[in-house]
Each structure stands twice: as C-alpha cells, then as structure tokens.
C-alpha cells in the first residue's frame, strides 16, 4: 500500500520543520529518510503516523486520505526508544493492539495467543513471551517493538531511528535482519536514520533531507554515485573539495581539467569539484598526466582498504584517498612520500559554502 505525501509543511514556532514536501512511497518499498538532526525527517515520519499534524498538505495512504486521529490510521510505528509497556510481559506488549480493539472485532484469546506466538517466531524471540522489557537486551526490545507494531496488521510500517540506540555489532546484525524481513513481508516501510551507511545498506530508495526540504530521492547507488548537490555529496560519505574556475565548459582545478556539464551557462565563475576518496588515484610518478602534487601525512592500513591522508604542495589543503591493499604493498608508500594525485569522477558545482 502506497503512501503519498503532498505539499506537507510544518512550522514549530518560527522554525520551519518541513517546507512543502512531496514524496511518494510505492507499495512494498523500504524507504529511508536520511538527514542530519533538525532536517525534519522525524517530523515527517510522525506526520505520516498522525502523531503530529501538518500545517499544510495531505497524507494519502493506500489511495485514501489518512484519517485525522493516529489510532484510526492503522499504521505500525516503532519508536526510537521502543516505548515498550514496562509493566507488561512481552506477550501482553504484542497482544496490546489486539486487546484494545472494539469487542466486535477483537479476536478470541486463543486466536490472540496464536497470533502473538507466530509473531514471536517471526522476530526470533520464541520462548521469551513471559519476560518483561527490563529483562531484555536492546536488540530484543527492538524486535518486540517490531512484533507489537506488526500485530495490528498495519497498512504501512514506520520506524524512527530503528537502530539508533544499539551498539555497532547488534546494529549491523539487526539491519540485515530487517532487510530480510522486509523481503519476506513486502510491507511498505519508511524508516528514519541519520546514518548514511545504514540507509545505503538497507533501503530500496533513499530520501535525503536537509532544512525541512528533500535534497534528493533515489536508489542508494543513484544518490551515492550521482549526488544532486554539494549537500548530498557531503552527507553521503567523505569527500574531497577541489576549488577551480569554469571557462568555456571546462573546469580548471590547478593542472587538472574536467569537462563541466553542470554550470555551463556561466563563464569564469568559481566552482568546486567533489571527489570521493576512492575516486582519487595516487602514483609515485607523474606518467605524463595532469596531476596534483601532494605529500603523504598519514596512512591507516587497517581493513580492506588503505586510507591515505595527503597534503597538497601548492595550497596545503588536505586530500583523503583510499587505495587497495595491493597497491599499498606494491608501491610501498610511507609517510612523507611525494605522490601524484589524479581525481577521477569529479562532481562539479558552483562554489558556495556547503551546508553541513
């Protein structure tokens, strides 16, 4: 069941939390709302849920205008800190949504038991139904919260920073598990996160938000490989900045020249080239190519890739590069070496202060 967000705005005092946001989440999709804190992502999620109301705009769920009251929307919501009912056992937590139904539609106790136990099996917590939330680990609480939200057979599932309160290892495990669960259930889901890695790994599509506006919508590959603007470049992973000027459709950044597809209508204006660390190649010799000369400041050889911190000789700006272990060992770089840097895959934007 799809979610359509049409022209939603929200002001909190003088602060603009959401500024005329349009977004369609397709049926069965897992969408991530990604952005820094204060970008409006959580507010948008809570407006979809009905926990907050928009000043303008409308929410359409499954082709119908969403009802005013949160409890009538039939939306599953997983809270950031789970919000499990502390005085209820795991069983009663999951059964809550069924027990509060009007008498006519409330399932019989045996049926409730059946549903709860099957949900516990789904979230891999069989045998823990008598425990209380305080007796569970963070990851277990998260899964109880998910089972509780699924018990009401919601039209859509909303998750607010679902892995925010977990430690790194559990977080990784759980997000892979959530992805698999989504592939099984195919429930339209939206989750909020400020962690780009999490969004890139789990989501079908990513909505990058900043200052109450959507900066870019796309698949993880689209937003990572083709960021729409400097903000997205900066927010999705590390990036190097090369300052230059555009002239006759060619951007000059020192010796490096790149064809400029972006700001072609303006001539001789300052621009910035954005290059990801893994799109930086370094070599020990110039090889006749246009390069930037830099000195190695620091090498971190731990992990599958080797991170090299460089400093340009001309303007002393830092450059971050990532090279393979093979190259690192075959070229045997050490701190203080002079190397020749060539950026590949440069994203060019007009020069202004990136907002982060």
């Amino acid at each position: 069941m799809s979610i359509e967000i049409q022209g939603v705005s929200k002001h909190i005092g003088k602060f603009t939390a959401l500024d005329n946001v349009d977004l369609t989440v397709n049926e069965g999709e897992l969408v991530a709302l990604l952005g820094p804190s204060g970008s409006g992502k959580t507010t948008l999620l809570r407006i979809i849920a009905g926990l907050e109301t928009a000043d303008q705009g409308s929410i359409v769920i499954d082709g119908e205008q969403a009802s005013k009251r949160a409890r009538d929307r039939n939306v599953g919501f997983v809270f950031q800190h789970y919000a499990l009912f502390r005085h209820m056992s795991v069983f009663e937590n999951i059964a809550f949504g069924l027990r509060v139904r009007p008498w006519a539609t409330r399932p019989k106790n045996a049926k409730i038991r059946e549903i709860v136990l099957s949900l516990l099996k789904l979230v891999q917590l069989e045998g823990l139904e008598k425990r209380y939330p305080s007796q569970l680990s963070g990851g277990q609480r998260q899964r109880v919260a998910l089972a509780r939200a699924l018990a009401i057979e919601p039209k859509v599932l909303l998750l607010d920073e679902p892995f925010g309160a977990l430690d790194a290892r559990v977080r990784q495990e759980l997000r892979r598990w959530l992805r698999r669960l989504h592939d099984d259930l195919h429930m339209t889901s939206v989750f909020v996160t400020h962690d780009q890695e999490e969004a890139l790994e789990v989501a079908d599509r990513i909505v990058v938000m900043n200052h109450g506006k959507i900066e870019q919508i796309g698949t993880p590959q689209e937003v990572y490989d083709h960021p729409a603007n400097p903000f997205v470049y900066n927010f999705l992973g590390r990036v190097n900045l090369f300052h230059g000027r555009v002239h006759n459709g060619t951007v000059s950044m020192g010796e490096i020249k790149v064809d400029s597809p972006a700001p072609s209508d303006q001539d001789n204006v300052p621009v910035v080239g954005y290059v990801r660390p893994h799109d930086i190649t370094i070599a020990k010799s110039r090889n006749g190519k246009a390069t930037i000369e830099a000195k190695i400041q620091h090498i971190n050889p731990v992990g599958p890739i080797v991170r090299v911190e460089l400093e340009r000789l001309d303007d002393r700006q830092p450059i971050a590069a990532e090279i393979t272990r093979d190259q690192y060992y075959s070229d045997s770089y050490t701190v203080g070496d002079l190397v020749y840097v060539t950026p590949t895959n440069v994203g060019v934007f007009l020069d202004y202060d990136p907002v982060i």
């Binding site: 849920a49 926990l51 949160a70 409890r71 009538d72 039939n74 939306v75 599953g76 919501f77 809270f79 800190h81 919000a83 499990l84 009912f85 502390r86 005085h87 809550f96 949504g97 509060v100 139904r101 305080s134 509780r148 939200a149 018990a151 009401i152 309160a165 430690d167 790194a168």
Partner: protein
Amino acid sequence: MAGAPKLNLKQRHTGRSVTKPIWVRIILTLIAIIFLVGFLLLPLLEVFAQAFAGGVATYFATFKDPFVLSAIRLTLLAAAIAVPLNVVFGVAAAWSISKFNFPGKNILITLIDIPFAVSPVIAGLVFLLLFGHQGVLGPWLEAHNWKIVFAPAGIVIATLFVTFPFVARELIPLMQSQGTDEEQAALMLGANGWQMFRRITVPNIKWGLIYGVILCNSRAMGEFGAVYVVSGSIQGVTNTMPLEIETRMENFDFTTAYTLATALAMLALITLIVKTIVEYRSTRLLAEATE
C-alpha cells in the same frame, strides 16, 4: 554510544568517593539513634503508657463515648472526601503539567504548592473570612441556610485545602521522567483515550499514586491548625480526632486524650509501614524510568 556516559553516571552514584573513618560513622549513627529515641520513641511510649494507665477496660470504654465516636467519624469523613477528590485533582494536574506544554504552566505548579507554603492557621482564617458570618460570602450562605464555618462542611473544605499538593507533587516528577512515548505507542496500536489511561498511564504511576494517597491521607486525618480555625470545636459536631484530643486535654480528661492519641498514632504507624514499602517500590520504578 549512548551507553558509555550513562555507565559513568551510575558508577559515580554507587561508588563511595568519600569514605569516613569508622568512629565518625559510629558517632553519627549514635546521634541519629539518640535523637529518634528521645524525640520519637519515648513520647510515643508515654502516650501508650498514659492511655493504658487506667487499665485495658477503661481504654476500650473510651471508644464508647459518643463525642469520641463522633470525632472519629468526622475525621474519617473528611479524609474520605478529601483523599479521592485530591487524587482526581492530583492526577489531572500532574497529567497536564507533565505531558503538555501550555502558557501558565509554571504558575499552576506554584499554585499547587501554596498550601505547603502557607501556614495552615492562615488557610483556616481565609475560609473563615470567606464563609464566616462577617465574611464575603457569609450573608449569602446564611440566606440560603448553608452552614460552612463551624460545621462539618468547613472541616472538609479546610482539609481539602491543606492536602491539595500531596498527590500532584508525588506524580509530577514520576510522570515527567516517564515521558509520553508509551502513551503514543498505545495510540498507534489503536487504543482510545480511556484505554490508554487505564492500561498504560495508571499502571505506570500506580506506586507513586499510592504513595501520594498515603501522605494525603495521613495529613487529612492529622490536620489541626486549619481545621481548628473553622471548626469552633463543638464536641460531637465539628471536632475531629486531633481537635477532640485538644478539647479533652483542656478539660484534664487525660485518659481519653491519650487513648484517642494512640488511635491516631496507630494510624500513623500503619501509614509509615505502608509508606516504607511503597517508597521502596516507587523509587525503584523512578530509577527504572530514568534509566
């Protein structure tokens, strides 16, 4: 991560940064014990000794005195009205203060504290000036033949006033620390307002509420000053237990005074025991909530 600073906090809480030498601890403990025995236990024992001075039969005969019975009845009545009303008020006030933001919130918090800040005698005086013969509303009340001052109604109103803050004061920090997440979760799961309140809010504040009720009740039964001013001390009509004790003392009827005192003391003791149990539970709950 979020866990790390929390852990430090906990360590600071339980770790003993300052360790006093053993003799300091013994002296401090001794002072506390001597104080408790001298100012609490001895007077209490004296009350019981005096009450039973005339023998067990005399002790129980006291409870057949119609004035004594009337005083007990009025005390129970005042508590029976004041406590439930203050529970309703306290929950409503704590709910609105802890779960919503609205202009004048701080003024409301201050207003709740007024009965704590004002001397009970002055509170009684206020009602006397308001409802008394010379008071603002006095003539109007008399015209309708309603008696408040020097009548049981006045006792109830004065008791209500002085016990006003207990429930609310107890619940506000508890409810603030618990936040509104669980209530919102209940709404998202389809619960209506009443279901949310009964199934989520009430169980979460249960122990705090019971603690508030106990404090409220013991104050309602033991209140003297405010009640004294509006009562006029009419035996059999407007005397509560503390007032009856005072009347008997003035008339040198010490046995009855002490007997009634033991009844009040017993009540206090029971309250104290229940309070200790509840306090243990509610502090644990508060710690859980803030965790």
